[in-house]
């Protein structure tokens, strides 16, 4: 990439951060930390979008990242409200206890 940072370095960073986010969702049972891991995965995807946007010389990728941030804000607000509602009913944030739809 124009003598600066190589594209594959940025993509490798994105891949590692995404994998760590996936690991967090898989090994944690605390729903808040799982939610933070999802945010980490969103950010990893955003890094890849910005890197490709730069490599292509095209601004559309940055616009997509802009919308991702907007939607992440909405998603976090709704998700945390669901967690609060779940905590009111179950008094726990352990995901294995969220079995209200199971019968």
């Amino acid at each position: 990439m124009d003598g600066g940072i190589p594209l594959n370095w940025v993509l490798a960073l994105s891949a590692i951060l995404f994998s760590l986010g996936a690991l967090g969702v898989l090994i944690k049972r605390n729903i808040i930390v799982m939610f933070m891991s999802i945010e980490l995965m969103l950010n990893a995807a955003n890094i890849a979008l910005v890197a490709f946007s730069r490599a292509h010389g095209n601004l559309d990728g940055q616009i997509v990242v802009f919308f991702t941030m907007t939607l992440a804000a909405a998603e976090v607000a709704i998700g945390l409200a669901i967690i609060v509602a779940l905590f009111r009913i179950k008094r726990t944030i352990d995901v294995d206890q969220a079995t209200l739809l199971k019968w």
Partner: protein
């Protein structure tokens, strides 16, 4: 050359922050580690020439979203036993195995892409006005829909978090 070293340093900081988030058992520490990682991601955006996104990252992610997380963690005021039990048997084994596979696939894909040659000139300095022009012409409809989604989320959060009426 200097840029490469700065990038490596920032990338290392982001990865260490992510590992710290997973390693700490206290959710408040996890949230603070994630704030650090998000700041490092903002620095990556700066290095890639996306100034507006770097600022939005700090204001929206590291500012608003993480404050919301910390607020909820402190609002729930969890005791130690409410964090959940120990992981299920083999949860760590399978989680690590799956993640290792995922990482191998992603990193190998990232390695192959380096050989590709992209059409067009790489962006050197994308001015904020170019971004704004695109946002308010080509993506105007998406922009309006995004504002609608934020409104819906706001109303939805109030409905979800409101205490149910007595006897209802």
């Amino acid at each position: 050359m200097l840029l490469k070293w700065i990038f490596l340093l920032v990338a290392l900081g982001a990865i260490l922050g992510a590992i710290g988030m997973l390693a700490s058992s206290n959710p408040v520490h996890s949230a603070l580690f994630l704030v650090w990682t998000l700041f490092c991601v903002a620095a990556v955006y700066l290095l890639l020439g996306a100034e507006l996104l770097a600022i939005a990252q700090i204001v929206v992610y590291a500012g608003a979203i993480m404050v919301l997380f910390l607020f909820i963690i402190m609002l729930l005021n969890l005791r130690r036993d409410e964090f959940g039990l120990d992981p299920m048997p083999n949860q760590w084994t399978w989680g690590l195995l799956f993640t290792a596979l995922l990482a191998i696939v992603f990193v190998s894909v990232a390695g192959t892409l380096a050989a590709l040659r992209f059409s067009g000139d790489p962006l050197t300095l994308a001015s904020i006005s170019d971004l704004a022009r695109l946002l308010f012409t080509k993506y105007l409809l998406a922009f309006e829909i995004a504002s609608l989604i934020l409104l819906i989320a706001m109303v939805g959060v109030i409905v979800l978090a409101k205490r149910p009426k007595e006897g209802a």
